[in-house]
Amino acid sequence: MSDEYNQQNTPLEAQSSETMSGSSGTPSKDIDYVRPAEIPEQDLYHGHSFITKWVFCQDAKIIGVQYFLTAVFTGVVGLILSWLMRLQLGYPELVPFITAEHYYQFVTMHGMIMVVYFLTALFLGGFGNYLIPLMVGARDMVFPYVNMISFWMFFIAVCVLMASFFVPGGPTGAGWTLYPPQAILPGTPGANMGIILMLISLSLFVIGFTMGGLNYIITILQARTRGMTLMRMPLTIWGIFTATALAMLAFPALLVSCIMMTLDKLLETSFFMPSILQAGEVLSYEGGSPVLFQHLFWFFGHPEVYIVALPAFGIVSDLISVHARKNIFGYRMMVWAIVGIGGLSFFVWAHHMYVSGMNPWFGFFFATTTLIIAVPTALKVYNWIITLFKANIRMNTVMLFCLGFIVTFVNGGITGIFLGNVAVDIPLSDTYFVIAHFHMVMGIAPLMVIMGAVYHWFPLVTGRMLSEKLGKWHFWFTFLGAYSIYFPMHYLGFIGVPRRYFEMYDSPYVTSAVGMNEFITLAALIVGFSQLIFIYNIVTSLKIGKPAGKNPWKANSLEWLTPDVPPTHGNWGEKLPVIYRWPYDFNVPGAKEDYITQTTPPSEVINAEVEKT
């Protein structure tokens, strides 16, 4: 990297005490006072060649798009794997090349890809990178170089993961939970190269993510613009921030369990491996504890669920508020709920282990903490729907996806109460009820938010609108289709069909499950193909979409208020913006317009009866 660093020649004085840009009326110094800048200007690196501008790029926005595209690529792989599984389940004889080995490899790779490489990377790496600097009013992430490395680490992790499809023995088929001893024994497909590559890939992911996560946290804590207090940040930022904090504390457990399992596999240590009899022979392992792995895994795994869910909560709050033209109800409570859920999520992990053979007395504790989390979660739902009450709702694609999210999430949340309550969980755990539950709550619900968010922010990123008509088709196919997939699965779970079953044979359950399985498979195929509408919409809109102009949704938050649309490197041109209010001043009584942007100084809206800061 030989390019020199451009000296930024914005003089520092340009943004100290005399504030108000273009103040028209009689600016009263007092009400518009904002403290002068504390932090010196960032001295950004500007790429010159194609490689430094687009490939090894240090602009968080581009890194965000890179993350987004890579994550979507893995997501498509995960989707195709889910089709193959569904084909096997719905029409067992139809695709002869799917053997039990393959099925379990597909299940594993599908689960791991969707949770870690798709959703986590998409929300934090994708949306986080793009939106954090814009929404808090920074020029870029605080350590752009580290941020760039973070993406490339992730990229390598994805490559290693994909490579495992092509090694002898194929990818691991241990289930996404990778429980030992089974994960590294020959009875499981891909127990040699497959599992090793998976563990290496996860470790790389954790390292890469740590680099990115440090950036997100510090940008939010230490690089906000003038006037941007924590309680004036959009909820999107709160969601991403809390999720990143969770990730920084939860991923260590994953890293440690990966290291220990790799050693168990390669050096035959016995961390997780007790004495084992295989094919008539006692293996060299002795005295390890398989349950220890489960504790480590779920200490990561449960917060991981919220790492996916919290950014979705945050983003959907912002989308609802903008498109319902009303302030989000109970902002402060929303913030505390996000932080509270995040904190509590470290104390509930063993609800995944009610039937794992751990000391049964833990059940009482973990059932209680789990149901305590239900309270802040329910409050968030109330606040979303109260926001809709007496609002002015634009029924566009974005709003549809938000409503779809609420319905799906409430459904998944309620089934969560079943599974958290230990006595109810015992018959239901490891059945299709669990599959239905987590797909609703952390599969479909966040996906709805992602799609809504793409429709919402596409104009910002590309400068063009997506087609509304195609968008609505896309929504209805996805929403109804997803419900057709997962709603019947609750029933399958109630009658006791276990998960991770390659086929049911002539079990007495099949009679009522066969038809249902065929139906689910058809729905899954339709949902998958309907995503082509989405892709078509994106590709064509890039060329022929309606030009968006500035702030097409009339939103208040900072990302829409950049001097250039789409925002350029450095985001804010000459001068950093100054913030006077929270981002939810919609339909304030007395104001001329139905929105007041965050950069509007109080002196310009003297008559508006603003309640919140």
Partner: protein
């Protein structure tokens, strides 16, 4: 670094001051450089890594089927023909803690802009760290010589070897990284990069002696982790 001056903002002491900082705009930790916050948060994350290792170790040790070896015998060193328990480890710990001291002094001289003193002290710290790693290599080879392996252990439970090599190895890796950076920073100090406020490689901000303090944080952390490893492996 004491009294930071921030225009238009008064830093107040105690809990109230903290709440006020949190509620203010721009930064949460007033006057603290980005790099320093980053190091703190990274260390918090790393604390979780080491906690996971040590908790697993406790669980593993508590539930082995074979007895845990007698640590004061396994780790003893023969002086002449008398076995002295914990001799080597005491020296190692002493060296590492001393290097923490020299690091703290380096930070102090750095802020006093005493380039020479600062540089020499960083170098001393680096050499302390190197000595520590060297002694660790010695201890590993001694144990390996006696037949302890990650997958087997002639003195008792297998897990002893596994956890010992894994955790001290992971810690030794941290120390080694630290030593590398200490050497780089010693060079940077002598070359006057911090006096010239030369911009660091990873950042978009001007450099300064605060970078030495950041490295110092890491070094003290590694040292602190060692104290825990020492207590859990050698004294338990």
């Amino acid at each position: 670094m004491s009294d930071v001056k921030i225009e238009g903002f008064e830093l107040k002491p105690g809990f109230k001051g903290m709440a006020e900082d949190t509620g203010s705009d721009q930064t949460m930790f007033k006057g603290v450089q980005w790099g320093k916050v980053m190091m703190w948060i990274f260390l918090l994350s790393d604390t979780f890594v080491f906690s996971c290792f040590l908790i697993s170790y406790m669980k593993g040790r508590a539930s082995t089927v074979v007895d845990w070896p007698n640590t004061s015998e396994v780790f003893s060193l023969h002086v002449g023909s008398v076995p002295v328990p914990l001799l080597l480890i005491a020296i190692m710990t002493f060296v590492l803690i001393t290097s923490s001291g020299t690091m703290a002094l380096a930070v102090k001289y750095g802020y006093e802009k005493n380039r020479k003193m600062c540089g020499w002290l960083i170098l001393a710290t680096a050499i302390g760290g190197l000595t520590f790693v060297g002694m660790q290599v010695f201890e590993w080879s001694k144990l390996i010589h006696e037949g302890v392996r990650p997958w087997e252990n002639p003195f008792g439970a297998k897990q002893f070897g596994s956890y010992f090599f894994m955790i001290t190895g992971f810690h030794g890796f941290h120390v080694s990284i630290g030593v590398i950076f200490l050497f780089i920073y010693a060079y940077k100090t002598f070359a006057g990069h911090f006096d010239k406020e030369k911009r660091g490689w990873f950042t978009t901000m001007k450099g300064g002696y605060v970078e030495i303090e950041i490295l110092g944080l890491y070094w003290h952390f590694v040292d602190l982790v060692w104290v825990f490893i020492f207590a859990f492996f050698y004294l338990w």
